[in-house]
Symmetry: C2
Subunit: 317 residues, 2 copies
């Protein structure tokens, strides 16, 4: 297991800077007053494909040798990683193969295809996904870019908090959602060297709290099929992300589905940005644990903004 | 009738800069490809009270003598001007009185009150509004800040396109929605001196196309009670805004209700910002008249982001 270093993050930033956006930081006096903290929101939803995952994906894609690049990249994902990897591959002009369950939302498939990604469908089971992915990779020779358990991906995600610290002039805490742990690991990687006094806090849905339970237990606990509206946070930690979480995360807080929806509406209403449910989990936990954040300079990473506008969570029921 | 000058705009910018945001400019490769133009979006929805109108309001409020400031400001409005004037008055710590129809949405009243504005309700008719406003002004001595037909307000709105030109390095055209014409007039004021080769284009709902018909007829035509989802664009031109519209606007385009809704969804989906229906009218007209904009550098002003998230236009029906 290769653990990416601070220098890997610096190299990643240099490599991906021409291909990604230095996303802006938004503030809202209203939300700061509401929480009693001084809040800063890093708008990764403003990346062209709408999620921070373009950072790690671009680092992997643009770090390939020309020989490997000709064979392209491959992954299995039904979320933002699939579209961001397709987007990065399109920028370099190389093939991208994505294995995706046939049950994945049509909108997700459309986005991958818009960026030139080639989808191979599998059944919605781990067995089928792994078998199908092995076939695709054998046929294409594409380089496997894991959605998060990959040192290139983690180094890429770490570039976000480097910008965040520059843009804000420093933060007491950074809060990001945790699913597989790619963004949290990148944040730990960067801040443990750049600003070791800045605490890294992870935020997780109660209904998919495997990282929280892993953190308390001291070893990885993976859930089988958690259900939450925060659909970017369903996957479990893996060895590489567990390394960063167990060594550098200060605390993991959780929030209920309703708390996530309420926080999402606050973000839309007062920051006037479109953020996906996963991105609302940090604000939900800040509102729920005011004593932990009061009077602190708190950075929140808005991880993505890909939602189905016709099926917003508060439209249901 | 005093017509504000370019120097008034420069003075306004100096005056309001500590109190407003230099809002960011967003782009989307997808939307540029879709329209065939190179689009730039100035995010005035990111002002703290969510609309460009804080510029004109702050210019009026912070330009008052201390003596007048003690008596405060007053206006009649049920929209963004009311909340932005209240917000600016709160920043200076002076009273703000707002006359508003008792039928105005509760959310609008709540926002005005959150910023310390004092609401006096009237019946939803011009007679009642004018009588009530006269009483309020007589009682308080507050300085009347008209929502748009006021040189201080127009000079304030003009600061937006000054930033826009600096941030983009120049534009071939700027498109903004037109209701009473405050933003369009400010844009004309600034660009006719700063960048006379840049065309100013106004965008209007078909169902409230009084500015379009005025422009074609050569004199002000005012509608009685137009109905459109673009609720910021219901009011007619007045003498001061007509001056700028008739002298400096290149063209006025209109869009249907459905075209406005479609453009609004495109903005939310691809720019990932919350923009109100009025702000979607420019993109709707660009999509409708591709030949007029093709291969041009087109600036679009996203005028505001105050919407009821529980009553989005595409939820209806």
């Amino acid at each position: 297991m290769y653990i990416p270093t601070y220098d890997d993050m610096l190299a990643a930033h240099e490599r991906i800077m021409p291909h990604i956006r230095r996303t802006p930081v938004r503030t809202s006096d209203y939300l700061s007053d509401l929480t009693g903290a001084r809040l800063f929101f890093k708008c990764e939803n403003f990346q062209e494909p709408g999620a921070f995952k373009v950072r790690g994906a671009a680092n992997a894609v643009f770090g390939l040798s020309d020989e490997q690049a000709n064979k392209g990249v491959a992954t299995h994902s039904s979320g933002n990683h699939a579209s961001c990897l397709s987007y990065a591959a399109m920028l370099r002009g190389i093939p991208c193969n994505v294995v995706m369950p046939r049950t994945a939302p049509q909108a997700k498939k459309d986005t991958v295809r818009r960026y030139g990604g080639v989808i191979t469908e599998c059944e919605p089971s781990t067995t089928s996904r792994e078998a199908t992915f092995a076939e695709v990779q054998a046929a294409t020779g594409g380089d496997f870019v894991h959605p998060y358990n990959d040192p290139r991906v983690i180094a890429g995600q770490g570039t976000c908090s480097r910008e965040f610290m520059e843009q804000t002039g420093g933060l007491d805490m950074v809060v990001a959602p945790i699913g597989g742990g790619g963004m949290i690991s990148g944040t730990c990687l960067t801040l443990s060297t750049l600003a070791p006094e800045t605490k890294v806090v992870a935020a997780e849905p109660e209904q998919a709290d495997d990282a929280y339970r892993s953190f308390k237990a001291g070893y990885i606990i993976a859930d089988d099929a958690p259900k939450t509206i925060a659909d970017g946070l369903l996957v479990p930690l893996k060895d590489l992300t567990w390394h960063f979480v167990s060594n550098h995360v200060s605390e993991i807080y959780t929030a209920s589905e309703q708390e996530i929806i309420d926080a999402m509406k606050l973000i839309w209403k007062h920051l006037r940005i479109v953020a996906e449910p996963s991105s609302a989990v940090p604000l939900a936990t800040v509102l729920k644990n005011p004593d932990a954040f009061r009077n602190k300079r708190v950075g929140i990473i808005i991880t993505g903004g890909n939602v189905d506008l016709d099926k917003l969570p508060w439209m249901q029921g």
